[in-house]
Symmetry: C2
Subunit: 245 residues, 2 copies
């Protein structure tokens, strides 16, 4: 996943993308790197900017996905729920990820902003048209899907085989490495998720998450202010606690 970020950054800097897409700032990543100037212009004309406050739903589970979107700023939770209300967050998307479910009209997920989030939406008709005429775009979407698949499988190992302590440490590691991809790994950051969200991401309860965070604090693996602001003195130590070799 480090490699993918690296690659994405390279795309942005090396390509001579005009700033037409600046209207939605989507040039900062996402999907634009593979398009011709004309196509970019086309895309930006059809794009709309949306701001979403925390907890607001982007796409509901089972709803028809009418659009794709670049995340400009913020964090989006992708989650699934069981009939009786048990919930599992199955993925987090950070700026500048591309969101959407190509070739599927039904979204099997609920997408919800975790913090104040800005997205740039493209109608699916436009994206589908561009995919048909620009093979590079499908390649880009394919790469995104493979990246998400890798992340999902990494997380399956965490969900299935790690202890509560390791899960919480793994979560903090994920946030540290993704919250600000432009600047690499952060050793100080605000948690984009509440304790309840963290619990849903880790397959734990709120209380267990809280206790494990307290333990990490007492063990000097992290420092905490505000219950949201985290400082990680040594990433190596965090990774060790997380069971990442």
């Amino acid at each position: 996943m480090q490699i993918v970020n690296e690659h994405r950054r390279k795309d942005i800097h090396n390509s001579d993308i005009p700033t037409v897409c600046a209207a939605c700032e989507a040039r900062h990543g996402g999907v634009c790197g593979t398009l011709t100037p004309d196509q970019l212009l086309d895309l930006s004309r059809h794009s709309t900017r949306r701001s979403i406050e925390p907890g607001r739903e982007v796409i509901g589970q089972g709803e028809t996905t009418e659009s794709y979107a670049n995340i400009i700023k913020g964090v989006v939770k992708l989650s699934k729920v069981l009939a009786d209300g048990r919930q599992q967050i199955v993925g987090l998307q950070f700026a500048p990820d591309f969101m959407g479910r190509p070739f599927t009209r039904e979204s099997a997920l609920t997408a919800e902003a975790a913090v104040d989030t800005d997205i740039c939406c493209f109608p699916r008709t436009v994206i589908d048209r561009l995919v048909a005429e620009a093979p590079g775009l499908e390649h880009r979407l394919h790469e995104q899907a493979l990246k998400e698949l890798d992340e999902a499988r990494d997380w399956m190992l965490t969900l299935g085989r790690k202890t509560a302590q390791e899960k919480v440490a793994s979560f903090l590691y994920i946030i540290a490495t993704h919250i600000d991809p432009e600047n690499g790994t952060a050793n100080e950051f605000d948690l984009p998720l509440s304790r309840a969200d963290i619990a849903d991401y880790l397959g734990l309860t709120i209380e267990t998450v809280s206790r494990q965070i307290t333990k990490l604090r007492k063990d000097n693996v992290i420092r905490i202010e505000n219950s949201r602001h985290v400082n990680v003195p040594s990433l190596d130590r965090l990774m060790h606690v997380a069971g990442i070799d």
Copy 2:
């Protein structure tokens, strides 16, 4: 996932694929549906057939992936291990799935045959060349990636939020619906995994898996012979126990 199987079956029957690919029987699905006769011929000339006995590794974790493969027959486990040996199976692939990690030279996974398995391998150079000249092929690979992503996320819900009982029932449901996709859902089948493998797939221990299977048997949700052969009188009942609404 029902939809995808449906779709795959349709592909096979509707397309007028020549039987050149018969050399490796890969025509039964996989990747061939999107190619021209010439390209199929090209592909089949470079394909090699391999038989793999249970437990044998197909691609090792961290090894370079030199080839892609269609699964002709059998089941392949995709797994990840922690430094201390804890293991998690992150995916199962059934015939006629296409296996491989496009655009990534490093495999983050170990792929291992669960039962006697036949695969048809294509060197990555050939596939990469065909992807470049046949845009439909990348589309096909992209769809496969999205299908695997959906399955991975479904499984995350199972790993994170279901009880041991629900996990085991969910596993049996997966097998019933995937073991023989040509004929739809099976209500009688042989388990392709040992208890240890099932445990690694469900994030449980062998003992817990065994106890839950015993409980399902006592509750008349399933019948068992040989500890491998399973009969499911009512799929609805199994789904209900699995927490699938």
